[in-house]
Every structure is written in structure tokens, then in C-alpha cells.
Subunit: 449 residues, 2 copies
């Protein structure tokens, strides 16, 4: 297979003509053409190598041979739908069950995190008989109509807030309502959800679910404060609702110490539904909803079939199983802990030397560095962040990107094979660029408010 | 790779325990375990061969080696998201454009027909600024929340009809409002849409879109009467709405004579949006929305990114391209015409000898035989149809299934490599079973009303 059959200019011209422009390109003023990838490295049409710090989808590394082999072997044999019995789907569900709290033992396989969250919404509404949903501010749960409705990150720019959707404050201890200096930010933020539920009840409405990413990502690489989720779950359940953990960005060991990010909230805590996606198939469209027998039963009892054409097919499940094997065999969780900790430490050292780095946070290989023009006021250094992303790409061929409501959080969620050397390289390059910006302005914004 | 690692009993037990029971099995009282497939044949764990008459997803045949090779070669190289430039997505879009009317030249790649229809709904509502949707009775457009709302087949059993959804009569010339004997059923059925739109306007509401499967499938393998779609499109457009053709079941040459089923409605006719899915990736999760520049522009102009994590990745597009090549190289459209015509003729001969076959209809390899207990009253022979499906599986290892509001339409939508011999085999077996049922009742229902 040829790596390239069109010149980059032709590709770009055809892209502009043929693909909806709402589907944006990275580095839109000077997009990159990638023709090959391996591990944490991308290669452009000229063979130039880029370090990939953001593709959490390619979880065990781009084009991992074990995944390709498993896919090809199963494609060669069978790829029917799940209306026929097949071993892969049940073996895979069983393997996933072994990573989850024992009550989460019923699985629905789908094709994307969006499909998973849409189904979670259906399950929650069917089980509780209630409609309303509480979500975190700045959350993003997917591109489908139903999910835009529960994603403040999107609905604020589009159709607006529906009457059945309620937005709780983002438990951001850096710039939110309650900071790290609060005696118990987990409890304090959980109380905001309790208060919100009370308001909902006053309107005569009822909660079906609380939806949250286990580490809010688009919200700015946020790590929920200790004790938050169990308390929220308690409030939500006593209001007749259920707790949905969206692990689409964070599952499959990214946090290193745990397989699921929600486990950071303590051993006894279990969501009622867990949705998973992006990293699950290493790029193959594979996603899933895990839930309890009770919730699944309510969905079955409505008497209506749920059929997902491609969901849980033997190829998808073979890929999913191969991915689980690679995570274990290569100790990628251990690597996430070691490299993630090193990366965070290096960034914290950098923070001591660059005023613009207001906060460094993260767990495992889910790390964010929040840039501010003023540490006291925490003014978002949006322009600096954007410039840093651009210069890392132009000068060092390193791909990072930004998140957060002001796009001022430089995010790291690389393939899990990211190395110590990679961490050192990217931090050294950031150091060099920030130093240059500080010394040679005027590029570095002084104050962008 | 082992074909089977669990006994059938273990697989079934684990399936019941681990997979949501809303995901139903075929032949639920005696499900089939399939471990291998090739072309139009499925093989169970004992090596027994089944003839597959229904897997339209496995369009060019199960496990086609050209598809597997294309997938494996691209998986080996690269499978990033569409935020990087890549040749496959633009070459594929260009190839698809060449099959469509020239105004449909902007593409959005997604992972399932459901995701495609959800996006079509968003595009229609954004472009027109209107909310309401007209759909056909008994239609099914997908499993997502937004699509259940526009699928009478589902919403009647679930949340009910939303105020923004309006149901037009199914243009079924066998048992609908206007029959084949009507001088112009296409016009007559189109007029029901015109009248419905008038009613909607009287309520002070406005139409965003008319959604219809180009051949309504779940509705009972219906072939729309000549002239229907262009007339409907005219009425819908003059009301400010757009025409969405759902080709998820029917696209990619199934009708033989044309690449898209909507083309059966005449050369000058073009929908404003075409959605595609199931057959597109031969089992790989791949789907798409094609639309006009104007509609795409309105979506871009809202300023909000549309990002689909897996949509349009290089592997999906490589598979899509390989599928287009196979359709051409193996003249599968020609085969669909030849074999489909033969199958329909054979079924019509059968109809002359079996009173229970009330109607035989179809185009290419999209064929239905509607069973009735009484040809005058057209009473649905639901039980007979169900028994026929069961006996074909038990006695002949032939997989067919039923559709239609009464599940009395035996449907054929096999892989496109279905052969003359396959058609003869299935019709002979149906003949034998129906004869046996007629002679040996009481299995054959006399009247189930």
C-alpha cells in the first residue's frame, strides 16, 4: 500500500471540497499530513517524525502489531452481528467484568463513546422513570443530539439548555468555587449537587441520572477532589437517580494506579453505569456500556429489542481482548504511573521557573498544565497556550493540544507506551519555548483580559 | 485462532449472564453459534453450513479476502483520526461522490447508520431553522434517542409520538391506502404528505425534513411507487424542509440496476441528504452522511466543531474503498439484478401454487414475500411466516427472517454474491415446507385474526 497517492496540496484541496468543514483539522492554518504511525510516533509524508502527546485513542500505541494481528485473524474468520452466539463477545464481557465492581456485570457493546452515552441515558431514564439529568459544567459527552443536550460545552454554543438538564459546578480545585485550601472540597462540591437536586425537586421534576466524566477532560484535565463521587452518588440515589461514570476518555488504565479513573474515588465506590469508548479498540470503533442487573432488567422489561448492527461483533471483541492483553503484558499501567509521575514532576519543576504555568495536575498519563498570565488572578493565558502548541509542532514536531473553557490547559494524554525520554523531551522543549517567549516577547501575552 | 474456546452451552450461559437481554438472539429458543463464514455461507461450531439470505451488512460476502487485506494493510500503517490530513478519506469521498447526483458532494464519516441519521437530523434542523420531521409509518431509522423519536416502529412501543414528529402513511401498494390498481399511487401517496404538511402548518409548526428509507425495510420490504419521492421532495421543499433518503439498508447497489435505491424514483431526482451505513464496510463500523454544499455550510456557520473520534479514519476508508472495488470487479450489481430477478420469478411461480403467498415484491437482491391467510382480506399469516423461518433453519439450515408490522413478510437481503443455485435452493425448500404445512396442518394457521 502506497503511503501517499496525492500530493499534500491535492489532499488539502480535496478535503476542503469534499469533507464537511465542521470536521476541523489540527493546526488548521498549516495542517499536518500523517501517513504512518507506530507507538507514540507519527510520520508525515516526508518521513518526518512527530511525538504524539494526545492520542489517547491509540491507547497501547499506534498500529500495535498484536491488535492488527488479532483483527486480521478474526476478519478472516467471521464478523457477523451479535444475534448469533459467539465466544468473543462473552469472553470479552467477562474480562471487562473482572476489571469492574462486581455489581457492574451486564454489558452492551456499541461503536462509539457517543453511542454508549446515548444508551446510558436511555437506560437511566427507563430504570428510574425520571427524565432529568445533572451534568458538570463544561462537560462533553458526545456529538449526538441527545448528548449535546447534556454537554454544556456544546449546548451553550448551540440550542441552549433544556429544561430537563441541570448544570452543577465543575469541581475544579484550581479555579473553581472551592480550592485546594478548602478543608473538604469533595464534600463542598458534592453539596452543590445536593442543592441543585433540591432545586430540581422544587420545580416538581425528578432526576434520572448524574453524568460525569471520571476526570473531566474538555473541562480542563480536572481531577475530581477526594470523596466527591461517593457523596454525589449518595445524594443522586436518594433522589431516585443513578450515577453514570463516563470513562470514554479515561478508562483502561490511563490513571496507572487503577484500571478505571472512578476508582480514584475510593474502594467502596461504584457507579451504576460506566460508559467506555475511545481507547477501547485502539482506534477501532468499539465502545460499551456496563451496568447492573437491575438496570439492564428494567430495559429488557420494556419489551423492545436493542439492536446495534456492528456492536459486539467478533472482530471488535477480538480487538478489545487483544488490547487488554497488551495492557497487561507490557505493564502499561505501571508505565503510566512511572512516566506520568515523572512528567508531572518535570512540569512542576518548570512551574517553579515559569510564572505562566499556574497549575500542574493529573494522574498517570492524564496530565494538564494550566497557563495563566497572572497567578493571583488566574487569568487564562489562552494566546500563550495556543502559541506554545503551535511552536511545539513547528519547531520540535511535538503534538500537544489544549482544553478547558479558555483553551489554556496544555493537555497530555499520550499513548500509554509514552517513555521517560518522551516526557523529558517535551518538557525541555516547553522550557525552551517559554523561556524564549519570556525573553523575546511580544508574543507572550502580558494580560489578555 | 481457535474457532471455538467454549462449548455452545457455556457460551449461551455466559451470554445470558453478561449481555443485556434486550440484545436478542436469532432463533431465541434454539440459537445458532456461528464460528466461521465465507461468501453467503455461515458455519456453526460443528462445521455445518447455513445459507445466509439476510446479512445485507456483509455486502460483498462474509470475510471477503480483499476487504480483510485492505484493512490489515492499513491497520499496519496508520489509523489516526481525521484531524490530520490523509489521502484515504478524500479519495473515498471522491469515489462516493461519483456514485451520487452532483449536488451531493459534501461528506461526513461516522460509525453507524444511527450516527448518520442523527447527524442528518442535526443538519436538517440547522439548515432549515425548523424542528418538525415527517416520517413514514412503521419506519425505523436507528437505536439512538433522537431516532427512536422519528421511528414509529419504535416510539409506538416506547415513549410515544413527540409533537414535532408527524407520521405519513406507508406507500405500500399491496395493503396500504392506495393499491397497484390506483391510476397513480405515487401521486396519491405523495398527496398524503402534502396534506400532512398542511396540518402541521395549521398548528403553527414548520417542517425541517422528510425522512424515508429508500425502500422501507422494517415496514415490510416496500418498494415506493413510481413518482412518489420527487413529488414529496417538491412539497417538502416548498414548505422549507429537506428530503433525507435513508439508504442504510439499501445502498451500494443492492437494487442492481442502480447504485442507490432512491435512483429508482427517476433520473432527475436527488435527495438533499443521503445517509448510508450497514453494507458500507462489509461489517466494519462505517457509515456516512452525504449532503449539499448549502446544507454543509449552514452547519459550519454555526461555528461549532463536529468531531467524530473514529469517523473517517484511514482504516475505515480503506475498507470502504476496497468494498467499492469488489462491487465493480465482481459485477455484484449485475449479479443482484440477475439473481434477484430469478429469485422473484421463482417466488412468483410459488405464489401461483401457494395461497399463503399474498405478494412477492422487490428490486435486485431486496425481495419480500408477504404471507396472508386470506388473499382477499390480506390477513397477515404471522404464525406461518414464523414457522417457515424456523423450519428453514432447522430442516435446511437456511437463514431468512421476517419484517413488516405483522412480521409476515419473509425477507431476502443476502450478501450480493448470492447465486442462482442459492435462490433455487431456498425457493425449493420454501415450496416443500409450505406444501407440507398445507397437507399436514394444523401448523398452518387458517386464520389468525
Amino acid at each position: 500500500m502506497a503511503l501517499e497517492s496525492l500530493s499534500k496540496e491535492e489532499t488539502l484541496a480535496m478535503r476542503k471540497r469534499l469533507i464537511g468543514q465542521s470536521c476541523r483539522l489540527f493546526y488548521s492554518d498549516k495542517p499536518v499530513k500523517i501517513v504512518r504511525a507506530r507507538g507514540q510516533y507519527l510520520f508525515d509524508e516526508k518521513g518526518k517524525r512527530y511525538l504524539d502527546c494526545i492520542s489517547n485513542v491509540h491507547h497501547v500505541g499506534h498500529c500495535h502489531p498484536s491488535i492488527t494481528e488479532a483483527a486480521a485473524a478474526q476478519m478472516e474468520l467471521l464478523n457477523t452481528n451479535s444475534r448469533f452466539l459467539h465466544d468473543n463477545i462473552v469472553i470479552y464481557a467477562n474480562r471487562l467484568a473482572s476489571t469492574l465492581p462486581s455489581q457492574l456485570r451486564v454489558f452492551y457493546f456499541v461503536n462509539s463513546g457517543s453511542e454508549a452515552n446515548d444508551l446510558a441515558l436511555r437506560l437511566a431514564q427507563q430504570y428510574t422513570g425520571n427524565e432529568d439529568v445533572v451534568v458538570l459544567d463544561h462537560a462533553y459527552h458526545g456529538h449526538l443530539k441527545s448528548l449535546i443536550d447534556i454537554s454544556p460545552y456544546k449546548f451553550r454554543k448551540l440550542a441552549g439548555q433544556k429544561e430537563w438538564v441541570h448544570v452543577a459546578p465543575l469541581p475544579d480545585t484550581y479555579r473553581g468555587l472551592y480550592g485546594e485550601d478548602h478543608p473538604d472540597p469533595g464534600q463542598a462540591y458534592a453539596d452543590t449537587v445536593r442543592d441543585l437536586i433540591e432545586e430540581v425537586h422544587k420545580k416538581g421534576r425528578k432526576i434520572s441520572a448524574f453524568f460525569a466524566e471520571s476526570f473531566p477532560s474538555v473541562g480542563g484535565q480536572i481531577i475530581l477532589p477526594k470523596g466527591y463521587s461517593p457523596k454525589v452518588a449518595e445524594y443522586v440515589r436518594s433522589a431516585g437517580g443513578i450515577f453514570v461514570a463516563d470513562e470514554v476518555q479515561t478508562g483502561f488504565g490511563r490513571s496507572g494506579s487503577h484500571f478505571w479513573a472512578f476508582e480514584q474515588q475510593g474502594e467502596g465506590f461504584s457507579p451504576d453505569i460506566v460508559t467506555m469508548g475511545k481507547p477501547m479498540g485502539n482506534g477501532h470503533p468499539l465502545a460499551c456500556v456496563a451496568t447492573t442487573e437491575e438496570i439492564a432488567k428494567a430495559f429488557t422489561d420494556n419489551g423492545v429489542e436493542y439492536f446495534n448492527t456492528f456492536g459486539g461483533n467478533p472482530v471488535s471483541c477480538a480487538i478489545g481482548l487483544a488490547l487488554l492483553d497488551v495492557i497487561e503484558r507490557e505493564d502499561l499501567r505501571g508505565n503510566a504511573t512511572r512516566v506520568g509521575t515523572h512528567l508531572k514532576n518535570l512540569l512542576r519543576k518548570l512551574q517553579a521557573r515559569h510564572q505562566v504555568i499556574g497549575d500542574v495536575r493529573g494522574v498517570g498519563l492524564f496530565v494538564g498544565a494550566e497557563l495563566v498570565t497572572d497567578r493571583e488572578k488566574k487569568t487564562p493565558a489562552t494566546k500563550t497556550a495556543s502559541l506554545l502548541v503551535k511552536r511545539l509542532k513547528e519547531e520540535d514536531r511535538i503534538c500537544v493540544s489544549t482544553d478547558g473553557p479558555w483553551e489554556n490547559v496544555v493537555k497530555f494524554k499520550p499513548p500509554m507506551c509514552f517513555s521517560m525520554d518522551d516526557a523529558e523531551l517535551v518538557v525541555n522543549c516547553i522550557d525552551r519555548i517559554l523561556t524564549d517567549m519570556e525573553q523575546n516577547g511580544p508574543e507572550l501575552e502580558k494580560d489578555n483580559v
